[in-house]
């Protein structure tokens, strides 16, 4: 059912874990199935230096979480923001139709983490 790439990421997920002093955290629950993902990012000079995740979810959820961290590390925030669920799914050689919503989880968590970073930064600057 899953592509070889999905299975490879499921078996050897990259960047599992937490970042203690993360600059942005995005936590998201999938409205469709109830699965949960938490994404941590470390940002320096507008660039994502590191990303880690924790996911409670199906095989596709774990693979897309892993893939999204690979895709964003080294990218500027603007570049990272352009990553959509389709980008993630394509990078994994596609997902079965019934599993497309799983890639929402990763994309949404990423956008939320960036948003979190930006709002924290704004607060800091106002001080």
């Amino acid at each position: 059912m899953y592509s070889a790439k999905v299975m490879e990421h499921f078996q050897n997920p990259r960047n599992v874990g937490e970042i203690k002093d993360a600059d942005g955290v995005g936590e998201i629950g999938n409205a469709v199935c109830g699965d949960i993902m938490k994404l941590y990012i470390k940002v320096k000079e507008n660039r994502i230096l590191d990303a880690k995740f924790k996911t409670f979810g199906c095989g596709a959820a774990i693979a897309t979480s892993s893939m999204v961290t690979e895709l964003v590390i080294g990218k500027t925030l603007e570049e990272a923001e352009k990553i959509s669920r389709d980008t993630v799914a394509e990078a994994l050689d596609g997902l079965p139709p019934i599993k497309m919503h799983c890639s929402n989880l990763a994309a949404d968590a990423l956008h939320k983490a960036i948003e979190d970073y930006r709002s924290k930064k704004r607060i800091k600057e106002q001080k």
Partner: protein, 389 residues
């Protein structure tokens, strides 16, 4: 790679003895039982012998056994057939929240047709309280359909008590016994308040696409497939003779071996459960260790989602399911576990281990030996399970 099949509630392999008795009916004895020539008569004899065998194994008479294409068709016929045949008497039907989709979807269809359905709740162990049935019965109730054994958690319903209540009120009682056959001795002479009972071949080491329904003499039922006068006009369509012959044989073996199998399966699953709970913290049993058919164990590993467990086990050659096979294409947590008030994130992690006659202690040891590492790997990725634990 070692392969271990622990998904017998989804389907079972055909027993070699069953296969053997079926083969001639694909080959030289291929006749149509409705034909009057020798080929037809030969098939007819086999068909009627199978019917008599099934009837005697159940304590029924042979004109109360109707062959179908499986549990789903038997359930559809029971629910819709009695609903329509008795609709002048009333439009109310009672079932439970944990039925198989064959029942639930038939009920949904009937709701659209103007019937009224009550879905009885279950307790946290997946059992319907007969008092709830008593309260739900109305003047216009015509049918109560409660499954004998639940396919996801293996809970056994109090069929004798439930059917006694309906008898007193002159309401038909149907039970989906698909998951009970071969696990619980069933005799409709003793359980004389059961009016209809559904069976399926492929859950008892018989072939797929064949089953039967017991319909007690006198039950008013409308057929759902129209055509020739097969199955005494209850179910049109040329009979699946090899399948039916195989089904009867499978039932014979299942009934013959029920005690031995129960002993075997109880031992396997209890040791399996003990090994897992010793090696893995936070294992949750969905259902009850004693009030269940002994082949089924439904477990959640706290903080771990079900599909990722199934994939991990599959990579090691172990076949299990989350919930029922038919619902694995959907995303909602199991309706059975929800009805048992199991928290969504626990229900999402539920894994059904269903053992069968060919499983061995070696299988138990193998699966119990690979699970702890799998669970801890997935837990280390989970935001719902704290590391310090």
């Amino acid at each position: 790679m070692k392969k271990v099949y622990l998904d017998h509630n989804a389907t079972t392999p055909v027993h070699p003895e069953v296969l053997e008795v079926m083969l001639p009916y694909f080959k030289e004895k291929f006749g149509n039982p409705s034909s009057i020539h020798g080929f037809g008569r030969e098939a007819k004899v086999a068909l009627e012998e199978a019917r008599e065998r099934v009837a005697s194994l159940l304590g029924a008479s042979s004109n109360e056994i109707f062959f179908t294409c499986g549990g789903t068709e038997s359930d559809n016929l029971a629910v819709k057939g009695t609903a329509y045949a008795n609709r002048k008497k009333g439009l109310h039907i009672i079932t439970s929240k944990i039925e198989h989709h064959a029942i639930l979807e038939s009920c949904k269809f009937l709701e659209k047709e103007g019937f009224v359905i009550t879905y009885l709740p279950v307790d946290s162990l997946g059992v319907v309280d007969p008092k709830e049935l008593g309260k739900a019965i109305r003047e216009d109730t015509t049918l109560v359909s409660i499954m004998y054994v639940n396919n996801e958690v293996g809970s056994i319903q109090l069929i004798e008590e439930l059917s006694k209540i309906t008898k007193e009120k002159e309401i038909y009682f149907h039970t989906d016994a698909v998951q009970a056959m071969g696990k619980i001795p069933i005799n409709v002479k003793k359980l004389n308040n059961i009016d209809m009972l559904s069976m399926s071949g492929h859950k008892i080491n018989g072939p797929k696409g064949v089953g039967a329904i017991f319909i007690r003499k006198g039950v008013r039922i409308t057929p759902w497939s129209h055509g020739g006068h097969h199955e005494r006009s209850r179910r049109a369509g040329t009979e699946n003779v090899p399948g039916i012959v195989g089904f009867a044989k499978a039932l014979e073996l299942a009934v013959r071996d029920v005690e031995d199998q129960n002993k075997h399966l109880k031992e396997l699953t209890e040791i399996f459960y003990r090994k897992l709970t010793e090696a893995i913290p936070d294992v949750i049993l969905n259902g009850d260790l004693n009030q269940r058919v002994f082949n089924t164990l439904n477990l959640s590993f706290k903080g771990v989602e079900g599909e990722s467990m199934i994939l991990s086990l599959d990579l090691k050659g172990v076949a299990v399911a989350s919930g029922s096979a038919c619902t694995s294409g959907t995303l909602e947590p199991s309706h059975v576990l929800s009805a048992m008030w199991i928290a969504p994130e626990i229900a999402q992690g539920a894994i059904r281990f269903s053992f069968g006659r060919d499983n061995t202690m070696e299988d138990v040891e193998y699966v119990a030996s690979i699970l702890p590492e799998m669970v801890s790997r997935l837990r280390s990725m989970s935001p719902l399970y704290a590391k310090e634990k």
